[in-house]
Every structure is written in structure tokens, then in C-alpha cells.
């Protein structure tokens, strides 16, 4: 039984979670007025009743970004079990996680190099290069002495 009570806090957390979820759903179902009407179920488009139906197919770029997120998400999940016992692993654990992180970082560099992360059309930089423009440097003043510029 000894090993069981170490799971007690998780169990209590689970109960509280379920309790809170059901309580709020039931309370809102019971107390809040529920008056569905056609407009409420229609999609909200800034006050305009939608006439054009949204397209079914979306550009692939959105899918690419989702994939990139998943790569790094899984990387974090693998770190959790490592984090629990990294004390006993000692130096071997440290080297191993650095190698693992390095491999994932390599894919990150590949992604950035291929421009997966810069989104949309290339930014039309103004004439100056990556100039550190400030409020003063980007304007010129036509004083009254300047009279009517041609």
C-alpha cells in the first residue's frame, strides 16, 4: 500500500478538477438564461450577416507552422522524465540531454535557414538599410526660411 499513497495527491487533484468542471457546467446550465436564436448560432463577422461561405481549403503555410510547433513540443515532453531523475544520472545524463537538444536545435537552424519562419511577403525596407531610425532622423524640417519648397 506504501507505493499507493504517493499517488494520493494526484488523485485528489483529479477529483477537484472533475468537481470544478462539472460544478461550473451544471451551474451555468441551471442559472444562466438559455435563449438560442438564429443569429447567435451564425458565425460572427463584425456585425455583417455572412454571405460568402468560408473556403474549405487553407494554404499549406498554416500546416507548416503547426508541424514546427509539434517538433519542439515533443522535445519538451521528452525533457520531463529526464528532469525527474537527472540527479542520479550525473554527468552522463547531462551530456545525453545536450546531445538530444543539439539535434533538435540543428533542425531549428535548418528551418530558419529555409525561411520557414519568415511569414508573408518580403518587407519592403525603405531606402535606408537596417538604419537605426529615430523620430528625429527620419524627418526633415522645412522652416519658414525654406519658404515654399519647389
Amino acid at each position: 500500500m506504501g507505493s499507493l499513497d504517493s499517488y494520493l495527491p494526484i488523485f485528489v487533484l483529479l477529483v477537484f478538477g472533475l468537481l470544478f468542471a462539472t460544478l461550473s457546467v451544471v451551474a451555468s446550465r441551471l442559472l444562466a438564461p438559455h435563449r438560442p436564436n438564429a443569429a447567435k448560432q451564425a458565425p460572427y463577422e463584425c456585425g455583417i450577416v455572412p454571405v460568402h461561405e468560408p473556403p474549405q481549403r487553407f494554404p499549406v503555410r498554416f500546416y507548416l507552422v503547426a508541424m514546427i510547433f509539434i517538433i519542439f513540443d515533443i522535445e519538451i515532453i521528452f525533457l520531463f522524465p529526464w528532469a525527474v531523475i537527472y540527479g542520479q544520472l550525473g554527468r552522463f545524463g547531462l551530456v545525453e540531454v545536450i546531445v538530444f537538444a543539439g539535434a533538435v536545435f540543428l533542425s531549428f537552424i535548418y528551418l530558419v535557414a529555409n525561411g520557414a519562419l519568415d511569414w508573408g511577403p518580403v518587407r519592403r525596407r525603405a531606402s535606408g538599410a537596417e538604419s537605426e531610425r529615430t523620430i528625429e532622423s527620419t524627418v526633415r524640417r522645412v522652416g519658414s526660411a525654406g519658404g515654399r519648397a519647389a
Binding site: 438564429a38 455572412p50 454571405v51 468560408p54 487553407f58 523620430i135 527620419t138
Partner: protein, 463 residues
């Protein structure tokens, strides 16, 4: 009015039963604007397609628009027509931008306006000249004093009446303070649009200083009806110099806070640098005026080029941008606040004494106290507030530099006590035409930054 596609529900051949039911059919008809909307690409004419894609203009040759420059084969994949509609946090009022998107890239856009049309030009024909300022002041609600100024100058030009110097200088003082409060309100909403709520809180705090001074002088925070034909409604309260000095010093000091908050911030720079670049030639062709024209490099400011009131006697700089993108418009407006502060300081020293409105009995009512003394004053007072002013026949166009650009008033008088036609040339109405051009192959996020940098006030656009 073509009615090929009245607002029936186009997607009625969907497989699933129509979730929003018959009621929405009627509603769709009411919120749909038919030919004013962005029609699908194959139903729009080539020239209109070119306009919506950013007005492909080749100016040197006489034909301003080259229809076949519009690439009609765009949007190969599934595109989405979206409403950045009337009720939207960042459209600065009730502007409805219809955009056609491919992913997040905007292919073409079209502003649909009219959601705040108040028929003010019709009401203007119904009110006498004395009442006209109350109607006009509600058009551009961020700078009401400029509307009153342009209306009063037009009436005075019709009447060919001279107003005393103190009235002219008071008008200049109030209009410059109004320019400061309008630009600060713009900086606040521009910051809020680009996700800096601190800028909103800063901006509203400073703007309230100016509004409290307006309330002290004119009695109201907005829609003052303070500048009237013939001068101003009331003299400045005594001790106004220190109030103005406090307002101007505080705002002058706090401009550095805005600068530190926004200019150095990489997010703000990424969202504004190189976004919405547009050439000065295109803006001139689209009749755009004001800060967005000056940001594109054209040093055109009516206060300097066609001076009115007493702008020749004050020294100030016209701020001109270099690259014409959103960052330049931000820089031009913040520097213009500093210039307006400089003007206000000079007005503090040079404010003449004397009458605050003209003594011509036909134009301005006599002082309140004299009414119960002299019968003649009572008659004038009564005639003015019932019959009003009767200018000679004629038509006149006057323009002033409002914070958004050239604000003009075209008055036609037929000799009666009501204007025959009162048309206000709204700067935002013309500036809004430049948005599709600025949006050429931009993103949805750029649309928000560009709309905010053009600073349209929808009361001004729809009148």
C-alpha cells in the same frame, strides 16, 4: 443601381441544412450592401480590379490608370472574402474594410463607408448661419474646433467682415491645442492597435489635460460651438496663460515617454517600418493631404503654403518624412505635436488684447449686459438669434489644415438666412482612398497598422 446579386444567401447549395435558418436570409439582405461590396473577382470590371489591388497608376502618361496592369489571374487557390466590418476594435469607428485573402496575404481590399452617414449637409441647409457651427462641429469629432473654424471663415469670407486680432489669435490657440489633443489621441489608438495598451493609457491621460482646458474655456469637452462666425463665443478666462503653460509643459515633457515607449520597441518597428510605403505621386493623384502626404516627402501644409488666421506671424517648421511608411507617419505626427507646442508658446507671448468678436451688429450679438440697457441692442440680439445672418449671394471655398489634412468648406448662399448648399471637403474621405494602394501585397496585420496610420475619423468620412 445594378441589382444582379441582391443579398440572397449565396451559399444555399451547401450539403448541410443551412444552420442559420430563414430569419438570417432577411437579415443578410439588410446588412448586405450589394454593389458597394467587394464582388468576386470574375464579376468586377478590370479597372475596378486594378483599384482594389492598389491602384496601379502610371502617372507620367496622361491616362492615370492602366487597366491591363491589374493581374486578373490572381487568387488561383481558394481565396476568402472577409469583412473587417463596421463593429471592429481597430477600424477607428464604423469603417467596413472588405478584403480578399489568400492565407494571410491581402490580394485586394475595398473600404465600404456610410455606416455613420448623418446627413449633416442636409441639416446644414436647414439651420441658419448662426446655428450652423453646432452641426459642423460634430463631423470630425477628434478636432471639432477645426470644423468650426473652417465654417466660420467661410461665412466671414461671404460676409467680407473683419474680425478683431484677438479673436484670430484665440482661434489659433484653440486650434493648435486641438491639433495636439487629436495627434495624441491618434498616438494612443495607434499604440493600442499595435498592442501597446500603455500608450493608450498615456495618451488618454495627456489628452484629458487639453480637454479640461477646453471645458474651462468653452464649457464643453467636445463639440464646443466656440468658434462662431464673427469671432469666438466668449473671451478666455483670466489666468488662462498659466493653464496653457502647464498643459504645454506637461505634454512637452511626456513626449519623450512616448518616444522611449514605442520607437525603440522592436515589435513596433517590425510592424511599422517598411509597411504601407506609398509614393508621393500616387498620394497627390488620390487627393490625399495632411500628415500622410507630408510623410511621403511633400512639404505641403496649408498653414505655411496658403496661410490663414495669423500663421505668418508665428515661426514653426513643416515636418516632412523621408520614406512614406507607417513609421514616418508616426514620426511626423509626434514632431507636429512638438511644433504645435512651439506655436502655442509664441501665441502665449503675442496674444493681443481687445475685443474677442467683431463689433458689426449684423454678425455678432451685443454683450448680454447691454441688452436691458439699450433697446437697439435688444432688437439686434433678437434679430440675430431668430432671423440670423443674411450674407449676400455668392459661393466661397475656404480650406484650413486640420490634423488629418485639408479641411475645406464650400458655402453657397442665396441671400436668405440659410445656406443654399454647405459642403465640407473631408480630409479622411480622400485619405481613405489611399488605403488599398498602401495595402499592396501586405498582410492582415499590415492592414491594421496602415488603417491606424491613415487615422480616418468616420464622422469626417461619412458626414
Amino acid at each position: 443601381m445594378n441589382d444582379e446579386h441582391p443579398g440572397e444567401l449565396r451559399g444555399d447549395d451547401q450539403a448541410t441544412p443551412d444552420p442559420i435558418g430563414g430569419a438570417s436570409l432577411r437579415l443578410a439582405a439588410e446588412t448586405g450592401e450589394g454593389s458597394q461590396e467587394l464582388a468576386p473577382a470574375d464579376e468586377t470590371s478590370l479597372v475596378e480590379l486594378a483599384i482594389e489591388q492598389g491602384g496601379v497608376l502610371r502617372l507620367p502618361e496622361s491616362d492615370a490608370l492602366d487597366p491591363d496592369a491589374a493581374d486578373a489571374t490572381f487568387g488561383a487557390g481558394e481565396t476568402m472574402i472577409l469583412n473587417i466590418g463596421p463593429q471592429h476594435p481597430s477600424t477607428h469607428g464604423v469603417l467596413r474594410m472588405m478584403v480578399e485573402l489568400q492565407g494571410e496575404t491581402v490580394l485586394r481590399s475595398k473600404p465600404v463607408v456610410g455606416y455613420l452617414h448623418t446627413g449633416m449637409e442636409k441639416t446644414g441647409e436647414e439651420l441658419t448661419y448662426v446655428q450652423g457651427a453646432t452641426n459642423v462641429t460634430r463631423m470630425d469629432y477628434l478636432s471639432p474646433l477645426h470644423n468650426e473654424l473652417v465654417y466660420s471663415l467661410a461665412v466671414e469670407k461671404l460676409l467680407a467682415v473683419e474680425i478683431p486680432p484677438r479673436a484670430t489669435w484665440i482661434r489659433m490657440l484653440m486650434c493648435e491645442l486641438n491639433r495636439i489633443s487629436s495627434h495624441i489621441m491618434w498616438a494612443a489608438t495607434n499604440g493600442m492597435d499595435l498592442a501597446s495598451t500603455t500608450m493608450m493609457i498615456f495618451g488618454l491621460r495627456e489628452r484629458d489635460l487639453v480637454l479640461q482646458f477646453f471645458e474651462k474655456v468653452t464649457g464643453l469637452r467636445m463639440n464646443h460651438n466656440y468658434i462662431r462666425p464673427g469671432g469666438v463665443a466668449a473671451d478666455l478666462p483670466d489666468g488662462w496663460e498659466d493653464d496653457v503653460a502647464v498643459v504645454v509643459d506637461t505634454i512637452g515633457a511626456r513626449l519623450k515617454d512616448y518616444d522611449e515607449l514605442l520607437t525603440g520597441q522592436p515589435i513596433f518597428r517590425e510592424r511599422t517600418e517598411g509597411v504601407g510605403v506609398v509614393s508621393a505621386e500616387l498620394l497627390l493623384a488620390l487627393s490625399a493631404t495632411g500628415p500622410i502626404l507630408r510623410a511621403a516627402g511633400v512639404p505641403w501644409d496649408l498653414r505655411r503654403s496658403m496661410p490663414y488666421l495669423a500663421y505668418e506671424e508665428v515661426d514653426f517648421d513643416v515636418i516632412v518624412g523621408t520614406s512614406g511608411d507607417c513609421f514616418d507617419r508616426y514620426a511626423v505626427r509626434l514632431n507636429e505635436v512638438r511644433e504645435s507646442i512651439r506655436i502655442v508658446r509664441q501665441i502665449l507671448e503675442k496674444m493681443p488684447s481687445g475685443d474677442y468678436r467683431s463689433e458689426d451688429k449684423k454678425v455678432t450679438p451685443p454683450a448680454r449686459a447691454r441688452i436691458n440697457e439699450s433697446m437697439e441692442a435688444l432688437i439686434h440680439h433678437f434679430k440675430l438669434f431668430t432671423r440670423g445672418i443674411e450674407p449676400p449671394e455668392g459661393e466661397v471655398y475656404v480650406a484650413v489644415e486640420s490634423p488629418r489634412g485639408e479641411l475645406g468648406c464650400y458655402l453657397v448662399s442665396d441671400g436668405s438666412n440659410r445656406p443654399m448648399r454647405m459642403h465640407i471637403r473631408a480630409p479622411s474621405f480622400a485619405n481613405l482612398q489611399a488605403v488599398p494602394a498602401m495595402l499592396r501585397d501586405g498582410l492582415i496585420a499590415d492592414l491594421i497598422a496602415i488603417l491606424s496610420s491613415v487615422d480616418p475619423v468616420l464622422g469626417d468620412v461619412d458626414r
